[in-house]
């Protein structure tokens, strides 16, 4: 107990917390207000059942809070390091440095935890109050864990930064460097290794994918299918993943980075948190930072931050020509002075400016030139067409995704395709309408990846070759049967649960002699595509899957199999029976070849009300028996769309056009 008290002293903790309460409370209120506004925005969609993604729940507020709250906590709780007056009071008091550090550390952690707990509680209440909002199981818990850990990890980095530098401003920069630099390195290296000029001199300026690669440090927001993603997210994620050496597990576009959740990621953050905290404690106790900039270590950290912060700027801006180099050097010198002025309220000496500048140039060169040598050496290795056994192609825009990886693993040994790829290199100039592909050349052993630019005139040929390859098409659509949750048919949700989908899959497999589902879908698509011109019956299914809280859809043309259709229509019609009540109104009547019912209604001047009533009565009597039978062929069923006013949603039922149905249709022609 006494050993715990020697590390954590509640009085010290409470005293510092209490003296810092003003700023902490302001930070807390801003964060909670942001979360509250976010919650209100969820609630503003009445009457629409929708899936709430983790990204919506987290939002930009959580990201900002993830950086700003820990910095605010650290700046206020460790403010005695920045203020000579307070440091006299604190350091002369009989509190061991160990206790001082860990008590303030705990104070910050508790503050952050309280914030995330309140935010989670507000989210939970919002979700409970809105039955229309469908959320993944435990999304609030995930929110709590992920953002709680992220904030605490940034806080521990802040503690480390502040213990090393003892300077408020340098602390900001150091935290930025710690969190953003790994991401920058990752992107830089990735860019370099894809930027071989052997096969293509690509103009990177006009394509979205390459913009991301060549301007990795930009802070712009990429809006993509409603997802908000920013490069700091990626950089932050890269910090975690690159430090852990598990970068492959956290591919950049595999998910919306800041929204992703995985327990391994949490473990990594926890390890980083503990490491940074322990290192901070060591720096605080052993290195004996007294007050702003009085020790060698704080001086060294100050210089290290200057160099580390400006290397990416120098590197990213580039040294393309002498004029640019001089211009950038000028910008760098201004930034140096600004940094020093903000950090120490004094201007850097000329000697130190030159030393730091030279260090930045040297480090930038050390990064750049070995990279260039590697790239050129790689580029100088000419690959002849004879050496290539197969190629794999993936659009550059899919870079980093699982789909991209899958496509690059699919070996295409089509000689025509290989020839086409090699031809594309002849004309390497970027032209309007050309497309970028990343091509993997498979040789005897191993492979090499290159950017390849396909000119507009080559695209139809490429599409033909790739379109003919159904496996490629399937992978391109990222079909993953394991993640199917429900199925939509002809744009109408069948509302199947996982067990029903599994049953459907089993039925499909049974029909196709135990083929696996992916092959089956692949084959079905081939059949459907081939026969669509002949007006053959098939059903368009949408496979809806959830991965990491993100909803993805893939359309598949399916269903020539009667028993599968029988099962499917049975599920759908059972759903209808469950919801069937006075609030159902029939909207449209489809068959694959005619709109017989609509024609009859028009011919006989039946109004919708009476028509609905008669149809309802007939369905009431006959639908249960219809479920027992399978339609004999596609021509023998009809789908009817209805609108459920209570649930405010559309649905569909399938009717067999049997004798009883024909009788009913005939009866419609007769006047009542």
């Amino acid at each position: 107990m006494s050993s715990i008290r020697s590390v954590f002293n509640f009085k010290v903790f409470w005293q510092n917390f209490r003296s810092a309460q003003g700023l902490l409370l302001v930070a807390m209120i801003i964060y909670q207000a942001g979360i509250l506004i976010n919650c209100f925005s969820f609630s503003r969609t009445p009457g629409m059942t929708r899936v709430v993604a983790f990204s919506e729940i987290s939002g930009i507020i959580s990201l900002c809070a993830c950086f700003l709250l820990p910095i605010a906590a650290c700046v206020t709780l460790f403010d005695f390091l920045f203020s000579k007056k307070k440091s006299d009071l604190v350091f002369s008091s009989p509190i061991p440095r160990k206790t001082l550090y860990w008590s303030n550390w705990a104070g910050g952690m508790i503050f952050l935890l309280i914030n995330v707990l309140i935010a989670s509680l507000m989210l939970h209440v919002t979700l409970l109050r809105n039955p229309q909002l469908i959320v993944e199981n435990g999304v609030v818990i995930r929110f709590l864990i992920l953002w709680g850990l992220s904030m605490m990890m940034v806080y521990s980095c802040c503690c480390l930064a502040v213990s090393l530098t003892g300077n408020r401003f340098v602390q900001f920069v150091l935290v930025a460097v710690l969190t953003l630099l790994p991401g920058w390195f990752h992107y830089t290296f990735q860019t370099q290794f894809y930027n071989y000029d052997q096969l293509s001199q690509v103009d990177y300026s006009s394509q979205k994918a390459t913009e991301t690669l060549t301007n990795p440090y930009s802070m712009r927001i990429v809006q993509d299918e409603g997802k908000v993603d920013t490069l700091p997210y990626i950089a932050f994620d890269q910090l975690i993943s690159s430090l852990s050496g598990m970068r492959q597990s956290f591919r950049v576009t595999d998910y919306n980075n800041h929204t992703a959740f995985s327990y391994s990621r949490c473990w990594i953050m926890l390890i980083n948190l503990l490491a940074a905290s322990a290192l901070g404690s060591w720096a605080f106790i052993r290195r004996k930072v007294e007050v702003a900039e009085t020790s060698f270590i704080s001086e060294a950290a100050h210089e290290a931050v200057r160099i580390a912060a400006f290397v990416p700027i120098f590197y990213t801006l580039g040294m393309k020509d002498w004029v640019s180099a001089v211009l950038y050097a000028g910008i760098l010198l201004i930034l140096y002075h600004l940094y020093d002025y903000l950090a120490r309220r004094e201007f850097i000496s000329l000697r130190r400016t030159l030393i730091s500048f030279l260090a930045v140039v040297a480090i930038a060169a050390l990064i750049r030139f070995p990279m260039r040598i590697l790239v050129r050496r790689e580029a100088s290795r000419q690959i002849s067409i004879e050496d290539v056994s197969a190629v794999a192609l993936a659009p550059a825009s899919t870079l980093g995704s699982r789909q991209h990886e899958a496509l690059l693993q699919l070996k295409l040994d089509d000689p025509e395709l290989i020839r086409l790829v090699f031809q594309s290199n002849v004309n390497s100039e970027y032209t309007e309408g050309s497309i970028h592909m990343i091509v993997r050349f498979y040789q005897d052993r191993g492979y090499s990846d290159f950017y390849v630019n396909f000119a507009p005139e080559q695209i139809p040929q490429l599409e033909t070759r790739l379109g003919a390859n159904d496996q490629y098409q399937l992978l391109y659509r990222s079909l993953d049967p394991q993640s199917v949750y429900w199925i939509e048919a002809n744009g109408i949700s069948a509302g199947l649960d996982k067990a029903e989908v599994d049953q459907l899959v089993a039925q499909l497999q049974q029909e196709q002699q135990q083929q696996n589902f992916a092959d089956l879908l692949h084959e079905t698509k081939q059949i459907a595509c081939r026969q669509s011109d002949e007006s053959y019956c098939f059903l368009s299914l949408t496979l809806v899957s959830f991965e990491n809280g993100e909803r993805t859809e893939q359309n598949v043309d399916l269903l020539r199999y009667q028993s599968v259709f029988q099962l499917y229509s049975s599920f759908v019609n059972q759903q209808f029976l469950k919801t069937y009540a006075d609030n159902v109104r029939f909207l449209n009547f489809y068959s694959m070849y005619d709109n017989q019912l609509e024609q009859i209604r028009q011919q006989t001047d039946l109004d919708y009300e009476s028509f609905n009533l008669r149809l309802s009565q007939w369905l009431n009597e006959n639908l249960p028996t219809q479920l027992q039978k399978a339609p004999l062929s596609s021509e023998e069923f009809l789908s009817i769309t209805y609108y459920d006013s209570q649930r405010q949603s559309q649905g569909a039922i399938f009717i067999e056009k049997n004798e009883k149905w024909q009788e009913f249709v005939s009866s419609l022609i007769q006047p009542e």
């Binding site: 005293q15 209490r18 440091s87 006299d88 009989p94 007294e290």
Partner: protein
């Protein structure tokens, strides 16, 4: 016992304290004087455990002070620039001190506050500089610590308060044998309070002595001899720190036993002989000249 041995402190490339040696006895009031930037505050901060010495050692009762909570419980440091937590009053500050110093005497705190007519419930930020300093002194004395380090103690206090503070400090030392270390650049403030003084110049204690011997061992002598052509060599038996002759009268600063010096001078059969006491300020200036420092520009 406070001991500084070869103590040094560097900030960036600037050495503030160098090779400092000093020993302060228990139960004494030690005054440290020096010009601005001499290193007084830095020295106190090292003794209080705020800074870690770059070299040498700063010890109290044989133990290093830095990061030593046991020793620090016996130390209170009141810096030149005071810090109080925002929105606090003196009662709340007393609570803070009481949480750190187990022997904190609330009764004494209240008594001293009454004595100094300080409102313990009013916010400190509304107080004047002098009142804040009074409050800091009261808080320090209420801790019942054994070592008090005060930097620019009397800064901002009016003459009445100064004498009150001096009497409270003297009383505490007399009653509890506590040790007080004070710094100031004003010698007059310290001479009637301290029993020892040290002079800090450019990060080094140039000399230290007890006040009584300082005052009794140095005099200003005005002398005229029958032979008007006499010069400094005439007094080679004495330790003359300063010598100036105007016409037939010489003015000297002499260090040594008063009686012995008088005997030597009388043996010269002087026409005029006056032995005048020196102020502490003059003693320090002439002592420093004895070490080769030039203070002509400072001498008033």
């Amino acid at each position: 016992m406070i001991i500084a041995e070869n103590l040094g402190k560097k900030f960036r490339n600037k050495t503030v304290i160098r090779q400092m040696n000093c020993a302060i006895k228990e139960g004494s009031i030690y005054g440290l004087v020096g010009a601005n930037g001499a290193g007084k505050s830095t020295f106190l901060r090292m003794l209080a455990g705020v800074y870690q010495p770059s070299e040498g050692k700063a010890e109290i009762n044989g133990e290093a002070v830095f990061d030593n909570a046991k020793i620090k419980k016996e130390i209170v440091f009141i810096p030149d620039e005071l810090y109080f937590f925002p929105n606090y009053n003196f009662r709340m500050m007393a609570d803070y001190y009481a949480s750190l110093y187990e022997h904190f005497d609330r009764h004494r705190f209240q008594m001293l506050c009454d004595h100094f007519k300080l409102d313990t419930e009013a916010r400190i930020q509304n107080f004047s500089k002098g009142m804040k300093r009074q409050g800091a002194l009261i808080l320090a004395l209420s801790t019942r610590a054994h070592y008090f380090f005060f930097d620019e103690t009397f800064d901002g206090l009016d003459p009445v308060m100064r004498s009150l503070v001096k009497s409270v400090l003297s009383e505490d030392v007399a009653q509890r044998s506590s040790t007080v270390l004070l710094t100031s650049h004003n010698l007059r403030e310290l001479e009637d309070l301290c029993d020892h003084m040290g002079l800090l110049v450019e990060g080094r204690i140039m000399f230290e002595s007890d006040i009584d011997s300082l005052k009794t061992e140095m005099f200003k002598v005005q002398i005229a001899l029958p032979d008007k052509t006499f010069d400094r060599d005439e007094f080679h038996q004495l330790k003359v720190l300063y010598y100036k002759k105007s016409g037939s009268i010489a003015t000297m600063i002499v260090k040594g036993d008063r009686e012995l010096v008088t005997d030597v001078l009388r043996s010269k059969q002087p026409i005029i002989l006056d032995l005048l006491p020196l102020s502490l300020e003059e003693v320090f200036i002439y002592e420093m000249e004895g070490y080769g420092y030039e203070f002509d520009s400072l001498r008033l």
